[in-house]
């Protein structure tokens, strides 16, 4: 009898339903861990894995949660963000889930975290060696909206046949004068696989290139895990005459004055008065604490 079986026999005498450390059973963790190692070994390739149902709905971060649950240990410090913010409801919900099922320390400070699970943003504070950034991914296949069939897109990846993607981007240029993709902007990893960076704004794409941290991507509903090891080349697709460029904001954060960050637009009143503030709440708070101020406070 395997060790799992013995563990289960102990549990059976207990309550109507019992759960393991970090929720997932050890068999599931092993399966996910094996997929993570393959993902690291083949950067940008989507490794199929037998995604488990998690106690939060598909589409709400189950892929990221499964990855985090499979790597996390008692010595970790976990940060969870959604839209760059630690205090959005789903970030709170996922952070509480891990606090409850693992008892690990949680933090909002990017610099204090060993694991950061994210939806839709990469923190503004540069990541460091040894950190792991876990992305929640809804549609891992960058070619999916050009070709809905898995059987077809798999062949395209196998042959590194990415012409359709270039055609799509070039059609944007022909029509609009520039590429009209603003988030989930496709990248090429180590010159081989075209990869979906998850629906992060393209503003964050340059942070993925030569990043000191390990980047892991989990797509639960679509059953794929992929990875970018540290210090790996990640290039946003573009053309010589139309180089990739990120969004630029024409004003700094109203709270902390940062002018090199992604900003949220906040509607202030019924007249539609707007202000622009950092989407990364930790970064903004740290700057304010350090004495930086935006125009709102001046």
């Amino acid at each position: 009898m395997s060790t799992d079986a013995r563990a289960f026999c102990r549990d059976e005498a207990q309550a109507i339903a019992t759960y393991n450390f970090a929720y997932l059973d050890e068999q599931s963790k092993r399966m996910i861990r094996r997929a993570i190692l393959k993902g690291i070994a083949v950067p940008g390739y989507q490794v199929p894995f037998a995604s488990r149902e998690m106690p939060m709905p598909y589409g709400w971060g189950t892929g990221g949660v499964q990855v985090t649950a499979s790597i996390i240990g008692p010595d970790d410090t976990l940060k969870v963000i959604d839209q760059g913010a630690d205090d959005t409801t789903n970030a709170i919900s996922i952070r509480k889930f891990f606090a409850r099922t693992t008892g690990v320390a949680t933090t909002t400070a990017t610099t204090d975290a060993s694991i950061i699970q994210t939806r839709h943003r990469i923190p503004e504070t540069p990541l460091t060696e040894g950190q792991v950034l876990v992305y929640q991914v809804p549609i891992p296949e960058p070619l999916r909206f050009l070709e809905p069939r898995e059987t077809e897109t798999r062949t395209m990846h196998a042959l590194a046949e990415y012409g359709v993607m270039h055609v799509k981007l070039y059609e944007d240029i022909a029509r609009h004068g520039h590429i009209a993709t603003t988030y989930a902007y496709p990248v090429k990893v180590e010159g081989r696989y075209v990869m979906d960076p998850s629906p992060t704004p393209k503003f964050d794409n340059p942070k993925m290139d030569q990043c000191p941290a390990l980047q892991l991507f989990g797509a639960g509903r679509e059953m794929r895990i992929y990875a970018i090891p540290p210090w790996t080349q990640v290039v946003s697709l573009d053309f010589e005459d139309h180089p990739f460029e990120v969004q630029a904001f024409d004003r700094p954060c109203a709270l902390c004055g940062a002018d090199d960050v992604f900003l949220d637009e906040v509607i202030m009143d019924d007249q539609g008065t707007r202000m622009f503030v950092c989407s990364d709440t930790d970064h903004c708070n740290s700057r304010q604490t350090a004495g930086h101020a935006g125009e709102q406070d001046t």
């Binding site: 929720y23 037998a50 949220d264």
Partner: protein, 365 residues
């Protein structure tokens, strides 16, 4: 002065307390027991067991209670629990010919050995609301027949004897079947994986897909060869034992659809099969499953692919209601970072085309 709103954690806690309160409802009304759900809402329990892929009546009843009767939510609860359970092994294939039959009908024959047994069916009831039931009237004692001593031969086996029905589709011999709960689905699927996906699939989705084949979107000329509901024994081979270990009995519904088939380049004229097997008493689901199974065999049988119900990736990738409800409902989550990116783009495009002059001006104020 703008201050980012905090307090999401308190809001979530409060929402969940309110949910628990609404779930309980009026405290003057008796609390619903799991035994009541298991006994009196047993078909709801069956659906949660089959689509939750977990044969446990008590947990299914708990899920229904906890979900306030929302079936997909209850199925989700069952799935999220079952997925954490260790896998000990695979039972021997159940032999439905050995079923303790409670209901068994065939639309293909007027009578057959073992007889047509209606069992506890809604069929032929007049759908009139019953004031007596509302008043809590006790039902009459049912008439029961003596249980069969031996198994009841399947209709498909009678047809097999004459060679009119295709042999059961043979997969290349596998030491263990595919297991969609343990390995990622790789398209195209083998039939065992496909049938598993259909067995867990959403009843409503499969019903509509099946219905579409009857209305001409990949018509399959079906006859309900046999539907049977009853209990089957489960047995597990254990290396240490030289006999299969009996694990108990489960109730299942099996539907064998028999489809007239005029032949193709790949297969001769014959009757073909569609198969459905579902936990509990779930006849609608088993019938829909068997129709969809048959339509998904189009490629194998050399039929033209003309309709959604024949498209394996389309049907299987969208049949799971836990996946579907999650992704549809995830649109509730904040998407403001991406929306901001799109706002920026649309403003820019409008400015470039001149359409956005007015808006751009307002925006810069």
């Amino acid at each position: 002065m703008y201050v980012a709103v905090k307090g999401g954690e308190t809001a979530i806690d409060n929402a969940h307390r309110l949910l628990a309160d609404r779930r309980r409802g009026d405290r003057g009304v008796a609390d619903l027991g799991l035994d009541q759900i298991m006994q009196q809402l047993s078909l709801a329990v069956d659906r949660v067991m089959s689509e939750g892929a977990l044969y446990d009546r008590e947990l299914a009843a708990l899920a229904i209670k906890q979900a306030r009767g929302d079936m997909i939510e209850a199925i989700f609860l069952a799935r999220a629990y079952r997925t954490t359970l260790p896998r000990f092994g695979y039972t021997r294939p159940v032999d439905t010919a050995d079923m303790q039959v409670e209901r068994r009908i065939s639309a293909c024959f007027k009578d057959l050995p073992g007889g047509q047994l209606l069992g506890p069916t809604f069929d032929y009831t007049h759908r009139l609301l019953d004031p007596g039931l509302a008043a809590g009237q006790a039902p009459e004692t049912p008439a029961v027949r003596a249980p069969e001593q031996a198994g009841m031969m399947r209709v498909s086996d009678f047809l097999d004897q004459e060679g009119l029905l295709e042999p059961a589709p043979e997969e290349a011999a596998k030491p263990v079947p595919d297991d969609i709960a343990r390995t990622p689905m790789i398209y195209p699927l083998d039939r065992d994986a496909r049938l598993q996906a259909l067995a867990r699939g959403d009843e409503g989705f499969l019903l509509s897909m099946a219905y579409s084949t009857q209305r001409g979107y990949a018509r399959s000329h079906p006859f309900a060869g046999e539907i049977r509901i009853g209990e089957v024994a489960l047995e597990l081979d254990v290396p240490e034992l030289d006999f299969p270990a009996p694990l108990g009995r489960i109730q299942v519904t099996e539907c064998q659809m028999v489809n007239q088939f005029q032949g193709s380049a790949k297969a001769p004229p014959q009757f073909t099969r569609g198969y459905g097997l579902v936990f509990g008493q779930a006849e609608r689901k088993a019938m829909a499953m068997s129709l969809v199974d048959r339509s998904l065999r189009a490629t194998e049988l050399g039929e033209d692919l003309v309709a959604p119900a024949q498209d394996e990736e389309f049907v299987i990738a969208h049949a799971d209601n836990v996946q579907a409800t999650g992704f549809v409902e995830h649109l509730k989550l904040p998407h403001y970072v991406d929306f901001q990116s799109e706002l920026d783009l649309v403003r820019r495009l409008r400015a470039e085309t001149g359409a956005g002059d007015e808006a751009a001006q307002e925006d810069s104020e």
